[in-house]
């Protein structure tokens, strides 16, 4: 059974189609990356999953149950951090965390104090004095302090400094180690790359690519830079080689991944002095999708 499943979910706001036939599933124990630029529909999809918005068409389920109908019951097993964390200005951070943990009505908080220390958050301050990063920390502490089966995190690190991002990544790794599932929406690709088993890319309400990072990398090109003993004239004619530049004995180009072997053997015939192959980063993956779609 899937922990989380969107089945051809469409959501319209008046004329605007925010989600168009979005399908996505997260299996138990999986950390799932949900990436796309601002306004692509990540937050809308998550709000449908949280029963905050109702799908116009299609079905959203958590643990096999309808996300809208059974929201209250289901949320006992889910920890959620919204994309824009707005808190009550005249409550302290500590009060908000307590309130959040109590409202989940799930099992009791286990290491709230430890989390506060790790995230370096002063819970005695009023929320009005918190920066965006600190408000996010409040939501993250409340989320990770709860014993949930599924963590739905909507761009949780957009206000955190690099040190705190590190702490966040540790927390995700810890819940993953406990066999919990995580849906992590982000536009910080290095983070998704580091944490996620699987990725879906969303753009203008459509899922344009899904799969493991390995699978997605097959769709793109590997970047090669090399020095050869003799020039390689036939490289320019190879249909699988792109962006070629040659300066003296150094070459750089990108090559379609399925044809990497045959191109390398071509280089080998001309005597390789140095060779560097770089797998595509998620950034490149992302950009190439955008270019292709125009």
């Amino acid at each position: 059974m899937q922990v989380l499943h969107l089945d051809k979910v469409t959501k319209t706001f008046g004329q605007l189609k925010a989600l168009d036939q979005v399908t996505l599933s997260v299996a138990p124990g999986e950390v799932y990356g949900f990436i796309g630029p601002n306004g692509a529909g990540k937050t809308t999809a998550i709000r449908v999953l949280m029963g905050i918005l109702q799908a116009t068409n299609g079905r959203a389920t958590l643990f096999g149950q309808d996300a809208w109908q059974h929201a209250v019951e289901l949320h006992k097993r889910v920890a959620y951090v919204p994309g824009e964390v707005n808190l009550w200005p005249n409550l302290t951070g500590g009060e908000v965390i307590d309130l959040f943990v109590r409202l989940r009505r799930g099992s009791k908080t286990r290491y709230e104090d430890e989390l506060l220390e790790r995230f370096d958050l002063d819970p005695t301050k009023k929320c009005r004095t918190y920066s965006k990063g600190n408000r996010q920390k409040v939501a993250l502490v409340a989320a990770f302090a709860s014993d949930a089966d599924l963590y739905i995190l909507d761009e949780p690190t957009s206000g955190l400094d690099p040190l705190m991002e590190e702490v966040f990544q540790q927390c995700v790794a810890e819940v993953k180690a406990q066999g919990k599932s995580v849906l992590l929406s982000s536009h910080i690709l290095s983070e998704v790359e580091k944490l996620c088993d699987k990725v879906s890319i969303i753009r203008q309400g459509h899922i344009i690519e899904s799969g493991s990072l390995q699978e997605l990398r097959h769709l793109t090109r590997t970047f090669v830079s090399a020095k050869t003993a003799r020039p390689v004239p036939s490289l320019a004619d190879n249909p699988h080689v792109h962006d070629l530049s040659q300066q003296g004995d150094s070459l750089s180009f990108s090559v379609e991944v399925p044809h990497l072997g045959e191109v390398l053997s071509l280089l080998h015939q001309h005597g390789i002095n140095s060779l560097e192959c770089m797998p595509p980063t998620l950034e490149q993956l992302f950009m190439s999708h955008y270019e292709r779609e125009g």
Binding site: R47, M50, G51, I52, L53, Q54, A71, V72, E73, H75, K76, V78, Y80, P82, E84, V85, N86, L87, W88, L91, T92, G94, E95, V96, D98, L99, F100, R102, L103, R104, R105, G106, D122, P123, T124, K125, K126, R128, T129, A139
Partner: protein, 535 residues
């Protein structure tokens, strides 16, 4: 010393640019309000016997506590009455304007990190504070001149040029005192909200000091307060200028003190460190209702006190009202036409209607929170946890319901307790209670309406307030404007029996209850079916 204020004039221009609509709105709005009421006083105060009765009414200790001492009662002309009724409130408005003007351009800018940017430029350390104070000076001056001119143009009996100028400059000087007080509050506290709160607290204290000084033998207390000092000008009666000079001196000392203090603190800090808040939530903060209570309790309690005291203030003049109305045929024709009942009894239902409508303001803003909490992104935290729509809507509905039942009790008690102290012929408590509680079903219709708006038309909740405005017009102002009676039938309050003039008939009240129940039921069904409003 010069280096400390380097760049002040540039910053003043910058403030004027940022506030190019705000300052004119304050100045024009306040002066227009003050000036526009002069003809109202002139028309209501017919010469002769009525004026001395009016002066007598104003000399009642409750009224003195509210608006200040009466001067020139022997010849209570328009000017004397106007100064008596208006000056204290005008000073309060001007003080509020100054408090917001100073905090906005000092502490609020500091909190937003804007002062840091300014300080990185070649400007003096006191330039930001000085620029805010200089802007306040010019704003108050403009307000004083416009008000003086306007008062003189529309002048009523007894309002000569020197009086009009003195009225304006009493506002000017008291405004500067509050600008100074706020400047100091901004140095003491560590953030904008506490600074504003402290300054408003001092304003309230000054009002209370004046009230205490005015009704007791300890008049010195009034002289400690700028509000009290302003009334001591006895403007339009004796036109004393010395209180203005005293206030100007005080303002100067306060401003210099604020400069001295400002140099003894760091940017972003206050001389009094911020207190840490509580680490853990109390037991009550565990449910949606607990949270809703926490968010609304202050407003609910402040309004509860205010309604009780306002009812008491009305009641304090029950005795004089009879005489006053008998001497003012215009008002008598408007409010007291039934010869079978005493003036007070004829007034009870209308007074209750006014108080109930006032009390609806906090009730309806509580219900509006259902939507504002969604818009602010707060409701998402609750509904994303194990909280049902029913609990969320129910929390605010329940608080509104409790307020709607408690406020009429406080209103009736306010009328009865104070009324029976000052006027032996005050009707019994049950009369006030029945008259006030007769309005509760109509209030419930409004509660049902607001719940339904929140459920079905969340963007249109302000329409509900427009309907309350119309209700106030059709119930109360309609009488003054002499418009047809059927207008009041367009609002739930118009169907409430006017006890004790009319008997309580259950039919209209039951219909109102049924409408309220239907709207509420629909709201609870509809709220489960709609998307949460997001930014």
């Amino acid at each position: 010393m010069r280096g400390l204020f380097h760049g002040t004039s540039h910053l003043v221009r910058f403030i004027l640019r940022r506030d190019r609509t705000r300052i004119p709105l304050w100045v024009l709005g306040l002066s227009a309000f003050m000036v526009a009421l002069v003809p109202v006083f002139q028309n209501l105060l017919l010469t002769g016997e009525g004026n001395s009765v009016f002066a007598m009414m104003m000399e009642n200790p409750a009224m003195v506590a509210l608006v200040g001492p009466v001067y020139g009662a022997a010849n209570f002309h328009t000017g004397a009455a106007y100064a008596n009724m208006m000056l204290v409130f005008c000073v309060i408005f001007v003080a509020v304007m100054n408090i917001f003007l100073i905090t906005r351009h000092t502490r609020a800018d500091e909190e937003a990190g804007r002062v840091e940017m300014i300080r990185s430029l070649p400007v003096g350390r006191l330039a930001s504070l000085g620029a805010a104070q200089l802007t306040a000076f010019f704003t108050n001056l403009l307000l004083a001149l416009l008000t003086s001119l306007g008062l003189y143009l529309l002048r009523g009996t007894g309002m000569d040029l020197s009086g009009c100028l003195l009225f304006g400059f009493a506002l000017f000087a008291s405004g500067l005192v509050f600008a100074g007080i706020t400047s100091i509050a901004c140095q003491l506290t560590a953030n904008n909200r506490t600074a504003t709160g402290l300054a408003l607290g001092v304003l309230m204290l000054m009002y209370l000091l004046r009230a205490a000084g005015d009704i007791t033998a300890a008049e010195a207390l009034s002289l400690l307060s700028p509000i009290g000092l302003a009334t001591r000008t006895q403007v339009f009666v004796n036109n004393y200028a010395w209180p203005v000079l005293v206030m100007l001196l005080e303002a100067g000392l306060l401003v210099v003190l604020s400069w001295w203090l400002a140099q003894r603190r760091d940017v972003g800090q206050g001389l009094i460190p911020a207190f840490p808040g509580t680490r853990h939530a109390s037991k009550s903060l565990s449910t949606p209702l607990g949270l809703a209570l926490r968010l609304t309790r202050t407003t609910a309690l402040v309004w509860a006190y205010a309604l009780f005291f306002l009812a008491g203030t009305y009641a304090s003049v029950f005795g004089e009202m009879e005489g006053f109305l008998n001497n003012n045929p215009l008002l008598k024709a408007m409010f007291a036409t039934n010869p079978d009942f005493g003036v007070t009894e004829q007034f009870i239902s209308l007074l209750n209607a006014v108080m109930i409508m006032l009390g609806m303001v906090p009730i309806l803003t509580t219900l509006q929170r259902v939507v504002t909490e969604e818009r602010a992104g707060h409701a998402e935290h609750l509904l994303g946890r194990s909280v049902s729509r029913f609990e969320q809507l129910g929390a605010y509905a329940l608080i509104a319901l409790v307020m709607s039942v408690v406020y009429p009790l406080l209103i009736a008690l306010g009328f009865y307790v104070v009324g029976s102290l000052v006027y032996p012929q005050t009707p019994g408590l049950s009369t006030f209670l029945i008259s006030a509680y007769a309005y509760v079903p109509a209030v419930w219709v409004f509660i049902g309406l607001f719940l339904a708006l929140a459920a079905f038309l969340p963007r249109q909740v302000p329409l509900g307030f427009a309907y309350l405005g119309f209700t106030f017009f059709s119930i109360y102002l309609r009488r003054i404007a002499n418009l047809p009676d059927w207008l009041r039938k367009l609002t739930p309050l118009g169907h409430v029996p006017q006890y004790p003039l009319e008997k309580i008939s259950p039919a209209p009240l039951l219909v109102l209850c049924a409408i309220a129940a239907t709207l509420t039921l629909l709201a609870f069904i509809g709220y489960r079916k709609r998307d949460v409003q997001t930014q």
